[in-house]
C-alpha cells in the first residue's frame, strides 16, 4: 500500500515523496466530513495530503466505529505515516485500543493530541506541505496554544 500515488497530480512534487495521511474521527459523521472539507479547503489549491473522515457509529447514528477508523487509516496511508485526530470520549478510547491491537492500523499511525477543528486545519496544511509525521503532529498539537481572547 506504500506505492499508491499522491492524492493530487502535482508534477512539481519529487518522485516518491509521500505525504502523511490524516484521519478525522468524530462521534458525528457530519462533523467529521465537514471538518475534512474545512481543513482541505483552507489548505489551499496545491498538493493536498490525503484526508479521510471517520465519523459516527457506521449505521447513521452518533458514536464511534472501529471499522470506519481502520478503513479511513488504510485509505490515507501512503507510507509516510498517518495522523489521527479525534473529538472526545469513545473516539479517543477506540483509537487508543486499535493502536494497542498492533495490527488494526497502518504501522506508522499516531493519535495526535490536538483540538479537533484547529488541529485538523494545522495537520492538513502541514502534511500537504510535505512535512513528516512528527512535524504534522507538532503543528496540530500547537493549535492548543492559539488563545482566542
Amino acid at each position: 500500500m506504500s506505492d499508491v500515488v499522491s492524492s493530487t497530480p502535482d508534477t512539481a512534487r519529487a518522485e516518491g515523496e509521500k505525504l502523511v495521511g490524516i484521519v478525522l474521527v468524530s462521534h458525528s459523521a457530519a462533523v467529521a466530513v465537514s471538518v475534512a472539507e474545512l481543513a482541505t479547503g483552507l489548505a489551499g489549491g496545491g498538493t493536498l495530503a490525503p484526508v479521510a473522515p471517520a465519523g459516527g457509529d457506521g449505521s447513521g447514528g452518533l458514536g464511534t466505529s472501529s471499522e470506519l477508523i481502520s478503513a479511513a487509516a488504510a485509505a490515507v496511508d501512503r507510507g509516510a505515516g498517518v495522523a489521527v485526530l479525534t473529538d472526545l470520549g469513545s473516539a479517543v478510547l477506540t483509537v487508543k485500543a486499535l493502536l494497542a491491537e498492533g495490527d488494526e492500523l497502518p504501522s506508522n499511525t499516531r493519535l495526535v493530541d490536538a483540538p479537533f477543528v484547529e488541529g485538523a486545519v494545522a495537520a492538513v496544511v502541514t502534511a500537504s506541505a510535505g512535512a513528516d509525521l512528527a512535524a504534522v503532529e507538532a503543528a496540530a498539537a500547537e493549535a492548543y496554544t492559539y488563545r482566542k481572547v
Partner: protein, 199 residues
C-alpha cells in the same frame, strides 16, 4: 482448573445478564450519561456470544482475546474499547495455556484492570467501572463469590461519588447521587463469573 469452556460459559452468562439488565443499565446512564450503555453492551455481548459459538477458540486466553476484540469492533461507545481492553489484556496475560488455575486468572485479570485504568486514565474513586473491578480483583484471591460481593458493593458505593471521567464528569456535583452505569455493568460481569464457577 479453568478451561476454555469455562471462559466461553462466562462470556455467554454475561451476555444473558446484559440482555436481562440492559434496560436498567440504560436507565442508570440517562441522568449522567447518554442513555446508551445498556443497548451498547447488549450489541457487544450478543456479538461476543455469536463469535465464540462460531469460532470455538480452544484456550482461555484465546476466548477472552477474541471476545475483547469483538467488543472493540461492535460496541460503538466508550464501553467497547474499555471492556474490550479488559478482556483482551486479561486473555493475553493468560497466554496459550489450555487450562489456568484461579490464581493465574486473578493475576491476569489484574493485568486487564490495570490496562483499563491506563487507557481511560481513571483511578479508584472516579466513579467508573474501576470502582467495581479493583475491589473484585482484590477479592478474587479469596473466592469468586467474594469477588462478586466486592464488585456489587463497589458499584453501589459509586452513588455518592462525583464523576471525574467521561461524559458524567461534565455534570460536576450533579453527578452525585447516581450509581455509575459502568461500575454496575462491571458488577454484572463479575457476577456472571461467580455464577459460571457455581458460587
Amino acid at each position: 482448573m479453568l478451561d476454555a469452556d469455562f471462559f466461553r460459559r462466562w462470556m455467554t452468562a454475561t451476555a444473558v445478564s446484559v440482555e436481562h439488565e440492559a434496560g436498567r443499565l440504560t436507565d442508570l446512564d440517562s441522568p449522567i450519561g447518554d442513555a446508551d450503555h445498556g443497548s451498547n453492551l447488549q450489541r457487544g455481548f450478543r456479538a461476543v456470544a455469536a463469535t465464540l459459538e462460531k469460532e470455538e477458540p480452544g484456550t482461555p486466553g484465546a476466548v477472552l482475546t477474541l471476545a475483547g476484540r469483538q467488543l472493540i469492533s461492535t460496541v460503538g461507545g466508550a464501553s467497547g474499547p474499555l471492556y474490550g481492553t479488559l478482556l483482551r489484556r486479561t486473555g493475553k496475560a493468560l497466554g496459550d495455556a489450555a487450562e489456568v488455575d484461579e490464581q493465574q486468572f486473578a493475576e491476569a485479570l489484574r493485568t486487564g484492570v490495570d490496562a483499563v485504568m491506563q487507557l481511560g486514565g481513571a483511578a479508584p474513586g472516579d466513579k467508573t467501572m474501576i470502582d467495581a473491578l479493583v475491589p473484585a480483583v482484590d477479592a478474587l484471591g479469596r473466592s469468586f463469590a467474594a469477588a462478586r460481593t466486592a464488585a456489587e458493593e463497589g458499584a453501589v458505593a459509586t452513588t455518592p461519588l462525583q464523576a471525574r471521567k467521561g461524559r458524567a464528569s461534565y455534570l460536576g456535583e450533579r453527578s452525585i447521587g447516581h450509581q455509575d452505569p459502568g461500575a454496575t455493568s462491571s458488577a454484572l460481569l463479575i457476577a456472571a463469573l461467580a455464577e459460571t464457577a457455581g458460587e
